[in-house]
Assembly symmetry: C2
Homo-oligomer: 210 residues x 2
């Protein structure tokens, strides 16, 4: 695939297209226009066409896009059509919630194992995922390459744990700890989930209504 | 406050400024330039200045911003300086995680109560928040106005529960159910938290590295 610069704003919209197309596919819709996609997602039609043109365009002006093939192409661009290894670090409430309810496969990952320090948890399984001793993660990583680590440890352990994961050669950290971290110079991507940012946006929006 | 149109992209950056300024304040930094703010957040300095100019600008070109006063102004714009009522609906794993670990107050909300249908949970408390019977929420809403409902029910109950909350007069729904919903015509704002979108972005980023 040719490597050209694509704006982070375009990249942040890719999952939304992917989700929307999956829903259309599930509803049995076969073709969709850029204006319908735009309206569903709250974008403009020209933005949709511009975004798609970053990837060479998905064609058929005036005729709409084939939902299945567009969904497949976007899945390929995102990389969710591959299956990479993920592990989860820290099986607290949020870790439990993700283990029970989150579908890693639809995001291109197989959740191979979870790690914790609690004696009560080690050796048990949640939803088919075994909980292993965090003390053994170095050993584990020698046998199984970890592509992405899901970081759900308490805030105070965030940095040291992340550092340890970087040493193990992970390529990405899905960071729920609210502690900002940057490992760009080591080639490790960090994607932060900040619940608070989202609630503050809602706060802003309801504040405007008065 | 004068009401002018402000782009959703600017609004989505406000919580990031707020978070960054709180961290600077905690570290004892007194003044900050737009270029330092920009670098910390991965924006450009001109974007930062443009964003601030949407709110009339926070002044002092070439001299930097006063961290405390800028943080306060942004808090005021977002509305986190007020304290509004929130309730949480659905005390599963994610509900537990939020009750245990999430600081609603720093986002401008007081979490007044949680609601569930489970007999085992009703009447108990988590972190000082009482869990009430979902069957009594209509009665509850007569006495306490609910500004925002945090929706952490299972997917299959998402729509009917949201509809019920809208009837109760909530002004915003913080939606963790992965079910898209729109109540614009009723004046109710919905802020969706899609974990999958975030993991797909990480997937895209590590896919580029090959």
């Amino acid at each position: 695939m040719s490597e050209r610069y694509i704006s982070p704003l375009v990249i942040r919209r890719l999952p939304k297209y992917h989700r929307c197309l999956k829903e259309l596919e599930r509803s049995g819709v076969e073709r969709v226009s850029s204006s319908v996609l735009a309206e569903t997602l709250g974008f403009t039609a020209s933005q949709v066409r511009q975004d798609f043109s970053c990837f060479g365009g998905f064609g058929q002006q005036g005729y709409g896009y084939n939902v299945v093939s567009l969904r497949q192409k976007i899945a390929e661009i995102i990389g969710v059509d591959k299956c990479r290894n993920a592990v989860l670090i820290g099986v607290g409430n949020l870790g439990h919630a993700l283990l029970h309810n989150f579908d890693f496969q639809k995001c291109g990952f197989e959740l191979r194992a979870a790690f914790d320090v609690s004696e009560a948890l080690i050796g048990t399984s949640i939803n088919g995922v075994e909980i292993l001793d965090m003390g053994n993660i170095e050993e584990y990583a020698k046998e199984t390459s970890i592509d992405v680590a899901v970081l759900t440890v308490p805030r105070q352990f965030a940095k040291e744990t992340a550092q340890r994961l970087v040493e193990l050669g992970v390529r990405g950290i899905w960071n729920f700890t609210n502690v900002d971290m940057n490992f760009e110079e080591k080639g490790v991507k960090v994607e932060n989930v900040h619940f608070a940012d989202s609630l503050k946006i809602l706060c802003y929006e309801i504040s405007r209504e008065n």
